[in-house]
């Protein structure tokens, strides 16, 4: 019997290593194994008990205090004392309703073992490609699958590979993996690299073979040190067994792989900015055309794909493109991984076939809203995306259908918002981000995002004025038009979608000075309900602005002119006497 601990970044942040240390004191080292992120972040730390390849028990929210009980159970094969840790059948639905292709090995195999990867079918697709397929045949299989770029653009992968393959520009060909994953709220690629690094290597090798590249680079953002570490180890292991380097598996095909870390710039997720960064320069995007397939890394033909795109490749080669295309909709084939977060009960990684509705993801898989509050919107696509309101939740996950709502599929970040989320605040949040991350090359993006940020800040602070909404709309058009790259072109999307579906919130902020979600603190009013106040003086004693007056045992009053709206009184009142308007 073996005990396998989930050790992705989330698991570790939740305390998995403490659980490991506790178990190592009680069990033999060989009985303790490690796996990556299974994507059920809301249940971490997770400990699985295996008998051979069979999963006997899945224990969740484990702490070091449970180590003794777990060790006893494993030694005696009597699990009755740890039944309190077992995953509930409702929570199991989170995984059961998913279709895992990209995430197929995550949380199952040991990411630091190439043997584990191979035992689970790994590198079989690469063998098939090198022994039996021509590069054109590989591209044909990817074409059949309908695989489209999972980084957000949704461009047909086979087309990019073919363009790079056919490029007549002189020079070496380069295969690059975009692991910059800069969208706040997205961590699909992080989990993939931490939990199944070999599937990235295999997918990339197949791509390199298809386009005729002899070197591969993975550009990983600096903020993912564990992913970098795991990938470095996997590359070393692959080199040792001849899967990377000269004459791979005796096929005559040679290819090398290296990792280059980003240095903290969201714009470097844009492929030409990424190339500039790989060249050691400021990450400022280039004009397209020429496309990277023509002039990429140091002006040589290059092909860039996202991590998740590559993670699907080996499965497609092994099972056939047609099988992948059986899943999904007419214009969106296969599955998509989402990072489901926000005000959701079950937060984590969700991989579903295209064609499932957003409502199903949020309620059947995600379990609905925390505290059973009312859902307000779902934000898709990060700072380039938009908010989809409750009445459109039956929209299916499909590149075309989602863009018809004004949002985009994006890289996979799906943030759920409830009645307590201020939509103007969300637009401001995204503009704070894009204004900061704008590289500055284009006047419209550099100044336009800044001006939009200023207007949104004024509105959330009660200083919105007549004409602000129209000015925002005008700026949105201007920035979209005048920006060179995707960052600027999509920066207005959060504003445009919130204006489209939640215009009333903007108007309430500006004309009524109200924030119904009670998030914009400057717009709130604090009042003491005299019928509930017992005059205990706790609020007055804790008020940092000394704005509360009253005598002991008599109802107190807040002086609205002195109140700084910090909310301290509301937090400390034991009688629910503070009303927030």
């Amino acid at each position: 019997m073996r005990v396998v601990i989930g050790e992705g970044s989330c698991g570790i942040a939740a305390g998995a290593l403490k659980v490991r240390s506790a178990l190592e004191k009680l069990l033999e080292k060989e009985t303790i194994g490690s796996t990556g992120c299974i994507g059920m972040c809301f249940l971490e730390p997770i400990v699985d008990i295996y008998e051979g390849k069979n999963l006997l028990k899945r224990l969740v929210r484990v702490s070091e205090k449970d180590a003794e009980n777990i060790a006893k159970a494993v030694k005696t094969a009597d699990f009755s004392k740890i039944s309190y840790l077992e995953i509930s059948s409702e929570d199991e639905e989170f995984l059961n309703r998913q279709t895992r292709i990209a995430l197929r090995n995550c949380g199952k195999i040991d990411p630091s073992s190439i043997e584990d990867y191979r035992e689970n079918g790994g590198y079989k697709a690469l063998e098939k490609v090198l022994e039996k397929m021509l590069p054109e045949e590989v591209i044909e299989e990817i074409k059949k699958s309908g695989l489209a770029g999972r980084g957000g653009a949704g461009f047909p992968t086979w087309f990019k590979w073919n363009a790079a393959r056919k490029s007549e520009i002189k020079g070496k060909k380069h295969l690059i993996c975009n692991a910059d994953e800069g969208d706040p709220g997205a961590f699909m690629d992080r989990a993939l690299i931490e939990s199944d690094p070999h599937s990235l290597i295999e997918g990339m090798l197949i791509g390199a073979y298809a386009i005729g590249a002899s070197d591969m680079t993975v550009y990983v953002r600096a903020e993912y040190p564990l992913a970098i570490k795991r990938l470095e180890k996997a590359i070393e292991q692959a080199k040792k067994v001849g899967i990377l380097g000269e004459n791979i598996l005796g096929s005559g095909f040679s290819c090398d792989m290296k990792i280059k870390a980003g240095a903290g710039a969201f714009v470097c997720g844009e492929e030409t900015a990424l190339i500039e960064s790989l060249e050691g320069k400021r990450g400022m995007p280039r004009l397209k055309p020429p496309f990277p397939a023509q002039k990429g890394y140091f002006d040589e033909p290059s092909n860039i794909n996202n991590v998740e795109t590559f993670a699907n490749v080996a499965w497609i080669i092994e099972n056939g493109g047609e099988k992948f295309a059986k899943l999904g909709t007419e214009n969106s084939k296969g599955t998509k991984v989402f990072a489901l977060t926000g005000k959701i009960k079950r937060s984590g990684l969700v991989e579903v076939p295209m064609g499932m509705t957003l409502r199903e993801v949020v309620f059947e898989i995600g379990g609905g809203i925390r505290g059973d509050k009312k859902i307000k919107a779902v934000q898709l696509g990060g700072p380039s995306g938009g908010c989809i309101p409750e009445n459109l939740l039956d929209t299916v996950i499909d590149y075309k259908k989602l863009s018809e709502t004004g949002a985009i599929m994006g890289s996979g970040g799906m943030v759920v918002m409830d009645e307590d989320t201020c939509m103007v605040g969300m637009a401001k949040f995204f503009l704070d981000f894009t204004a900061e991350e704008s590289c500055g090359k284009c006047v419209h993006c550099r100044l336009g995002t800044k001006r939009m940020q200023e207007i949104l800040t004024r509105i959330t602070e009660g200083e919105g004025k007549e004409g602000d909404i129209e000015l925002l709309e005008e700026l949105c058009e201007a920035v979209k038009d005048g920006a060179l790259c995707g960052l600027g072109q999509t920066a207005p999307n959060p504003v445009l979608t919130t204006l489209k579906y939640f215009r009333n919130e903007y108007e309430e902020h500006i004309f009524e000075h109200r924030c119904k979600a009670k998030e914009c603190s400057v717009l709130l009013e604090y009042e003491i309900l005299p019928e509930k106040c017992r005059g205990c003086t706790l609020c007055a004693k804790n008020c940092p602005a000394k704005a509360i007056f009253g005598e002991l045992k008599n109802p107190h009053v807040i002086d609205k002119n002195l109140c700084v709206k910090c909310g301290a009184c509301s937090k400390i009142c034991r009688f629910g006497a503070i009303l927030i308007k």
């Binding site: 570790i12 969208d183 870390a261 060249e279």
Partner: protein
């Protein structure tokens, strides 16, 4: 800015390995920061000399990327995540509480050199929102009280 003279010899192995490689400037700056804790001005000038770039070009790259620091760090680097999930779960209040407790704005270091406070983009632990990371260790499911308590404990540990 710094009258300090850095020990440039420490950088030799990095320059020997990477300076001849084209496109390696960011890697060199990253390794230099690992050695010195930040990028002192004389190190930047030295890197420029050894890589055939102007100091302006090197500084241009160093100031473009948020990872590079031109000033020394405190003993504890406190990063407060500003990702979407953290925002929706109250990260602004946590940021405000950290800023208030430490008495500094984002990007600054406390006078005793103990804490540097930074607001950072998504750390990728969204299901534990709101999250702060201190010297690479993540702390999740925070409230303003929990966050301040973590910092208080560190201060006490340092006997400050």
């Amino acid at each position: 800015m710094d009258a300090l003279q850095s020990n440039l010899k420490l950088l030799e192995p990095v320059l020997d390995e990477f300076a001849p490689e084209k496109g390696s400037l960011i890697t060199i700056l990253q390794k230099a920061q690992e050695i010195y804790g930040y990028l002192p001005k004389d190190v930047i000038y030295h890197i420029a000399k050894k890589t055939g770039n102007t100091p302006a070009e090197v500084l241009g790259v160093a100031t473009f990327y948020s990872q590079f620091r031109l000033e020394p760090l405190g003993k504890y680097l406190v990063m407060v995540c500003q990702g979407t999930a953290c925002h929706v779960n109250g990260s602004e209040k946590v940021s405000a509480a950290v800023s208030e407790y430490l008495g500094i704005e984002s990007g600054k270091t406390t006078e005793d050199g103990l804490f540097t406070f930074e607001k950072v983009a998504c750390l990728g632990c969204c299901s534990l929102a709101p999250v702060i990371m201190i010297n690479g260790e993540a702390f999740g499911n925070l409230t303003t009280e929990k966050a301040v308590r973590i910092l208080k404990n560190l201060r006490e540990k340092e006997g400050a």
